[in-house]
């Protein structure tokens, strides 16, 4: 779960990392306790908001009201701005980059730091980014911190300040089950204090059960994806017009790939998982219908899950609720013959191979 900037900063504040004085602004009254000049920042879960008009500097109250109304409600790469953070402008002496993420190959938290803060880290050359891996069983040690900060070209007091921030964000990273904690830029202000001007915090969805203090936020998902998530169904909306239902993430992906081979394009990824529960099958079809695909392609492999049990669930949904697009099915594995009979009986098209099914689905969808 990706947190909005202001919520990340609330966590920073909780961990004693300095952030600019600021608050969410909805109208004039919200500026009363802040000292101008201020920066208004649109709260959206993606980058690039500055270029899209989502960040504005303001000198006085008159400007504040005017520019606030220019930001609220605008669309930034598909996200409508609902919240705006107003912050006092910092006096920047130096801008740094620091982050902690997961290194999947080394299976360790990875600290990255650079003296080139304030820009997109992917545009910073590799030799300007310093890396340090932390053993999760022993946690961050002083030598890890020294190894990073000594390469940033900082003065003595600055080194001390940045070291403290590093140990604090490591604590935050581990205690809140983060996938990412990024401060870009972490500044040293004129007063010599390290301060986080931005925040990017992503909490691992699988760990949300132990962070009940964090209000869930599903800002990156489409309404149907949110609905699916609440039902515990893996469901992703894509650009095309063929809805794919399969069991297992790998098989569902492979099915989408097969469509592309025949010039079809997947519109929905729906992984039924290992279930043959008729209720889950029903929910899956309901979700799929709402996504309005031109064709549905059901691809099942029965191992432990029995094909005929799933087929019975499918037949029951289709006969009870109806379906207004063709459904191509391809069934393989445990009890496949019985399953094919059931699906034929329900009026669905049964294909013999994955290729055959993918081709027929693609052709029916108009090769798009």
């Amino acid at each position: 779960m990706k947190l909005f900037e202001y919520r990340g900063k609330e966590l920073f504040d909780k961990y004693g990392i300095a952030v600019p004085n600021g608050k969410l602004a909805t109208g004039e009254k919200d500026f009363s306790n802040l000292n101008f000049p201020l920066v208004l920042k649109a709260q959206v879960p993606i980058g690039g908001r500055g270029k899209a008009g989502g960040i504005k500097t303001i000198k006085n109250l008159k400007e504040a009201k005017e520019k606030l109304s220019q930001i609220i409600g605008i669309d930034i790469r598909g996200y409508k701005v609902g919240k705006v953070l107003a912050e006092e402008m910092a006096n920047i002496k130096k801008e740094l980059y620091i982050s902690i993420s997961l290194d999947r190959s080394k299976r360790m938290p990875l600290i990255m730091a650079s003296a080139s803060g304030g820009m997109d880290i992917e545009s910073v050359p590799d030799d300007k980014i310093f890396k340090e891996w932390i053993n999760p069983l022993i946690g961050i040690q002083s030598f890890n911190i020294r190894s990073i900060v000594s390469r940033l070209g900082l003065e003595k007091e600055e080194t001390k300040q940045v070291s403290i921030v590093l140990s604090k964000i490591y604590k935050l990273f581990r205690e809140y089950d983060c996938e990412l904690v990024e401060i870009n830029p972490l500044i040293i202000n004129i007063e010599g204090e390290a301060m986080a001007l931005d925040s990017k915090v992503i909490i691992n969805d699988d760990a949300m059960f132990r962070h009940t203090d964090v209000e869930p936020e599903l800002t990156e998902l489409t309404p149907l994806e949110k609905d699916a998530k609440e039902k515990g169904i893996a469901f992703v909306q894509l650009g095309g017009n063929i809805g794919v239902i399969a069991n297992g993430a790998g098989l569902t992906m492979a099915t989408l790939d097969a469509l592309t081979h025949f010039k079809g394009e997947g519109g929905v990824f729906l992984d039924l998982g290992g279930t043959d529960d008729p209720e889950k099958v029903k929910q899956a079809f309901e979700l799929m219908k709402k996504a309005k695909p031109k064709v549905i392609f059901l691809n099942l492999f029965g191992g432990i899950t029995k094909c005929d049990t799933v087929a019975t669930g499918v037949k029951s949904v289709i006969t009870k609720e109806g379906i207004d697009c063709p459904v191509i099915t391809r069934i393989k594995g445990m009890n496949e013959d019985a399953a094919k009979e059931i699906l034929k009986d329900a009026g669905l098209i049964t294909a013999t191979t994955l290729q055959d099914a993918a081709k027929r689905s693609s052709d029916l969808a108009g090769g798009k």
């Binding site: 997961l102 999947r104 190959s105 299976r107 360790m108 938290p109 992917e122 053993n135 999760p136 069983l137 581990r174 089950d177 996938e179 691992n204 699988d206 760990a207 059960f209 132990r210 893996a234 992703v236 894509l238 650009g239 399969a246 069991n247 297992g248 993430a249 790998g250 098989l251 569902t252 992906m253 492979a254 989408l256 790939d257 097969a258 469509l259 592309t260 081979h261 394009e265 997947g266 990824f269 992984d271 290992g274 492999f301 191992g303 432990i304 393989k332 594995g333 445990m334 191979t353 994955l354 290729q355």
Partner: protein, 288 residues
């Protein structure tokens, strides 16, 4: 011969008395697996299909000599369960559980390494050496004893591929379900090392997917170290960046983990790639 597990493994099941536990103990016994103990706190003295249940892993190990554990407990208890197994001296831990917070996995993966234990998973279907043992939830009916090694990040897709091998009378030495999470205990490289050493394995099939760089790492390793023919299928060629495709680990993040990069790496390592999962069997048939 087989890799990682064979008929000698004495298996203890953590989370033995739940619906999944009971079903899979029965399936494993049917496959010939030596299931010697089950653990469910508070249920010592009971049995599941004749397998005695203990309160703790320590008790189970002491009474039965179990050396392998199958973890079927819910995600929030999984870390504790793996630590308990390792603490009791278990040397092979197969973790089926999905949705374990990755910070937990990070800890027990490292702890397993310090204990010289083999950890398979999490979020995997388990491991099977046909004719010898099956530790996990893989369907027994798809396997055939033979000479092809399989290692995969996916579940059902692997069943599909193994089944298509069987339909062509191509048997398997061992099939390892590595798991679909961003952090897993046993990797493609670990499996390749073992398959290369295993006299009974003549070819290797790798089933990869988008996310991370495990396939790229494996390709580099294959170039220098693997003499046996390797075949591969990569799922997710059409997956968009930034979207998690079902598996926690199946996500293209910050430009890394695309199918294109994996396919190109494998091509450079002379790995034969299949377009469709069911084509793997055709490619292998030409060689074996």
């Amino acid at each position: 011969m087989a890799i990682f597990v064979d008929e000698k493994n004495k298996v203890l099941v953590q989370g033995a008395t739940g619906h999944q536990g009971v079903f899979h103990i029965s399936e494993m016994l049917g496959f010939g697996t030596k299931v010697v103990a089950g653990v469910t706190p508070g249920k010592a003295g009971q049995d599941v299909k004749g397998v005695p249940i203990f309160n703790t892993v320590h008790d189970g190990v002491e009474e039965t000599g179990a050396d392998t554990s199958l973890i079927l407990v819910p995600a929030r208890f999984a870390k504790d369960a793996v630590f308990e197994a390792l603490d009791a001296g278990i040397k092979t831990v197969v973790t089926i559980t999905e949705n374990i917070p990755f910070h937990d996995t990070m800890e027990f993966v490292h702890y397993a390494k310090y204990n010289d234990a083999l950890l398979i998973g999490p979020n995997c279907p388990g491991i099977a050496s046909p004719g010898k043992t099956k530790i996990g939830i893989l369907p027994g009916s798809i396997f055939l004893e033979g000479n092809v090694g399989v290692a995969s990040r996916s579940g059902t897709l692997t069943y599909e591929i193994v089944n298509s091998l069987k339909e062509k009378d191509i048997g398997q030495s061992t099939c390892v379900g590595l798991g679909g999470d961003p952090i897993i205990g046993t990797t493609f490289i670990d499996s390749l090392i073992a398959f290369e050493e295993d006299k009974n394995t003549r070819a290797v099939v790798l089933v990869g997917e988008i996310g991370g760089t495990a396939e790229e790492d494996a390709a580099e390793y294959i170039k220098e170290n693997i003499s046996k023919p390797v075949f591969a299928f990569i799922a997710g060629r059409t997956a968009p960046p930034g979207k998690r495709m079902g598996h926690a680990g199946a996500i293209i993040a910050r430009g890394k983990g695309t199918a294109k990069s994996k396919i190109e790496s494998f091509k450079k390592a002379d790995v034969k790639l299949a377009k469709f999962p069911t084509d793997i069997a055709d490619l292998v048939e030409e060689f074996v």
